[in-house]
């Protein structure tokens, strides 16, 4: 279309005049990543509330990775209700594992292994808490 430098400059000026100077920004919002992030944050809060600091740290590591993958989108932090006891936390870990495993099976993105890792980590948490 613009085969010379002059032509390119003219073309750029024409685009600018038409209001087309803003760069297109590709935004992706993966529902599976968002759900996994919300669950990771809730589990981190729950583990912290019951004194499982190392397990909470695992969830924060998951959350940090998921936040990075969701950029430039951001998901607001939410306050989660603390689990009543260790059994409730283990049940939440099990449910979170099932959620991530389902995402691993159905995700449209390339993150099957990532979701699998999160599911496996949560399953291990549930087993050692129980």
């Amino acid at each position: 279309m613009f085969t010379t430098r002059r032509g390119l400059l003219i073309g750029a000026a024409a685009f600018a005049a038409a209001g087309c100077t803003e760069q297109a920004q590709i935004t992706t919002s993966d529902a599976d990543l968002t759900a996994a992030l919300r669950t990771a944050r809730a589990l981190a809060q729950g583990a912290d509330a019951l004194g499982y600091g190392e397990i909470a740290e695992d969830h924060r590591t998951h959350a940090a990775t998921l936040e990075r993958l969701l950029r430039p989108n951001t998901i607001a932090e939410e306050e989660a209700a603390a689990p009543a006891d260790a059994d409730a936390l283990a049940a939440a870990e099990t449910a979170g594992s099932a959620e991530a495993a389902e995402s691993s099976m159905t995700t449209q993105s390339d993150y099957a292994v990532l979701f699998g890792e999160i599911a496996a980590s949560r399953a291990a948490h549930a087993a050692v808490i129980a």
């Binding site: 190392e54 397990i55 740290e57 695992d58 969830h59 590591t61 998951h62 594992s97 495993a101 691993s104 099976m105 099957a112 292994v113 699998g116 890792e117 599911a119 496996a120 980590s121 399953a123 291990a124 948490h125 087993a127 050692v128």
Partner: protein
């Protein structure tokens, strides 16, 4: 070789290693090792059922596996930790399969192996937290 073939080979090797190493252990580690050997045998049987249902021939175990010299409880613990890590890493790799049935099976086995790894670490007094079980460091 499929992801399930590779996983089954890892389970065969784990059973062999537990059979050789558990006798050197006692206390909680011994109890957990016995439970995990049983778990690996259960997984092997489930995998053999998978081949049978598909009308396929399952790979056979090797006649033996090189587990090195197991001189004492510390060596046995080190070996079994390496075995659990290897099994977990093997099933993790299988989750990348593009075949849904194979991925589902590998996913189930991966979660089960991550649980085994955590239970083993707990039994021998190691930290159990691991955000990415089986991922190479």
């Amino acid at each position: 070789m499929t992801a399930v073939d590779t996983g089954l080979a890892a389970e065969y090797a784990a059973i062999f290693a537990f059979s050789a190493a558990t006798v050197h252990l006692d206390g909680d580690a011994r109890d957990r090792a016995e439970a995990l050997e049983s778990e690996h045998r259960t997984r092997r049987d489930r995998l053999l059922d998978h081949y049978s249902a598909a009308g396929a021939e399952a790979p056979a175990p090797a006649a033996g596996y090189d587990v090195g010299v197991i001189a004492d409880a510390a060596a046995a613990q080190e070996l079994l930790t390496a075995v659990e890590l290897d099994v977990t890493a093997t099933w993790r790799a299988g989750v990348a399969s593009s075949d849904p049935e194979e991925r589902r099976l590998c996913l189930d086995m991966y979660a089960a192996s991550a649980v085994s790894l955590a239970q083993w670490r707990l039994a021998i007094g190691q930290a159990v937290a691991d955000p990415w079980p089986g991922r190479a460091e």
